[in-house]
């Protein structure tokens, strides 16, 4: 069960080309490609004729031609050609998805088209702001998306999983402030007068004691902005070395997720060596998370029914986020997506 009335990151802009690309999102097969004018197109990746993936076909102008029997669909999913006959059967269409491309991210709306509100696409402007430099990574996580949400909302795991990069024991010794505001849950931790973790100390070129902070802002159901950084002791956060970690978490199915990761920084923006350090260091961080959550997924799949997580006060953000997700899912259960919602408007 997924919250479908939502924007999900489907791909990086660079991944959407004139070659059709397949991606599974919330168990929906999607084909992504660019029309001749450059706009990104997302269609259901299953030809209604025999279920063949359209992504295995080819582009003909703005349309995509099924590689099996040549059924051809335009950008709206309307069938415009059936090679073996002149009449196109009424049910010959594929679902099209609203798409927004912004700051290098390609978002698709997987729910009811009428509810697709572009203003709800999260702010990611740091990706294209020249005052910031960005490192990106893409990972397949062998776990349900919920575990990644939990992971980002409880950063005490950094003390144990990421000891060589961003972790330190002082993290779990400091409490959090959790704010719940509509569909946004944030968990903020201020760590005054501490040393920078190894990866930051190297790339920021600093030593001594600093105020470190991180605030995970979860915009349910699919995106986290981690406002993080280091500032002088007792100084405002805005003055410091700032990091915006953007995390697009897109479910594939009940046990797998896409993880689109961007790390934007306002320091050493032109220093290639710092970028190179971060590319490797952050890859290590993500791989450590991927390995840990894959093990956790196995643990959960083999956990006897009736056993639940034992949550503690540090899990306040996790618990509140789960409640928000449950509310979103309950709201979707009350509203039903009908076939009419899925048909192209021109059919």
């Amino acid at each position: 069960m997924y919250a479908l009335n939502a924007w999900y990151v489907a791909a990086w802009s660079t991944e959407v080309t004139r070659e059709p690309a397949r991606r599974t999102i919330c168990e929906i097969p999607v084909v992504l490609y660019r029309a001749v004018d450059g706009r990104a197109v997302a269609l259901e990746d299953r030809c209604p004729h025999r279920g063949y993936p359209l992504s295995a076909g080819r582009l003909v102008g703005d349309s995509i031609e099924c590689g099996y029997h040549g059924f051809t669909f335009d950008c709206e999913g309307v069938c415009v050609r059936v090679p073996a006959q002149e009449i196109i059967p009424r049910r010959t269409f594929v679902r099209s998805f609203p798409v927004v491309e912004q700051d290098g991210w390609v978002w698709i709306w997987t729910g009811e088209k009428d509810l697709a509100d572009v203003s709800k696409v999260p702010d990611t402007h740091w990706m294209t702001d020249p005052a910031w430099a960005t490192v990106t990574h893409s990972f397949h996580f062998d776990c349900r998306a919920e575990l990644i949400h939990d992971n980002l909302l409880d950063l005490t795991h950094e003390s144990f999983i990421h000891t060589t990069t961003v972790g330190d024991d002082y993290i779990y010794k400091h409490g959090i402030t959790v704010v719940v505001d509509g569909d946004v849950v944030s968990a903020d931790r201020l760590m005054p007068s501490v040393a920078a973790p190894p990866l930051y100390a190297t790339t920021m070129q600093l030593d001594g004691l600093w105020d470190r902070f991180h605030c995970t802002e979860f915009r349910a159901p699919s995106f986290h902005v981690l406002h993080s950084g280091i500032t002088g002791e007792g100084r405002p956060r805005e003055e410091g070395y700032l990091i915006k970690v953007l995390n697009g978490i897109t479910p594939i199915d009940a046990h797998n997720a896409h993880y689109f990761y961007a790390f934007s920084r306002n320091f050493g923006v032109d220093q290639q060596w710092a970028t190179d350090e971060l590319v490797e260091g952050l890859k290590t961080v993500l791989q450590e998370d991927a390995d840990a959550l894959a093990l956790q997924e196995i643990g959960l799949q083999t956990r006897p029914p009736g056993e639940f997580d034992v949550l503690i006060a540090q899990d306040a953000g996790v618990a509140k986020a789960r409640k928000v997700m449950a509310r979103l899912l309950a709201a979707e259960r009350q509203g039903t997506i009908t076939t009419a919602d899925l048909e192209p408007s021109s059919s």
């Binding site: 409490g175 639940f308 006060a313 899990d315 509140k320």
Partner: protein, 158 residues
Amino acid sequence: MRLILRNVAARLGDDGSLVVAASPDSLARQPWQWDVRLSREPVGQSQDYVGAGIGRHHVCVRVDDAHVSAELLTQTFDDPGTERQTVTIGRPADELWLAVVETGTFRHGHLEVAPGDVLVWEGGDPVGIDITATSDERITVALVILRRTDGQSLRWVP
């Protein structure tokens, strides 16, 4: 741990009241400890809870009195005038405090707090609650103080 629940984060209780905070916060995980509700009128039997009308609301605090005791106060901060100073209130680390903001706006740490917001403080971080008014309106909160009856620290359970 500090929890700030904006006014849209509450859930509707069976009796029509608004459950603004509870521990445990999730169903059927650990034994029920307490909850705090808001309503227009008193709800249930008065011997079952600590309650008081504060501003537009009736605040109702229910506890498992074998383990938890509750105290309900109305806390008012005088108008700060033009010179707004930060007031710091000391909270014993073994007590769990909860405030329902009735009137006034203030800054708490780096966060803005407004009427309808609910704040929960527990554990050792923070024990000093700092409040700086951000408007001329008098700050009024319903302050709920919860303690364990065995003298140990009361922690919030998600």
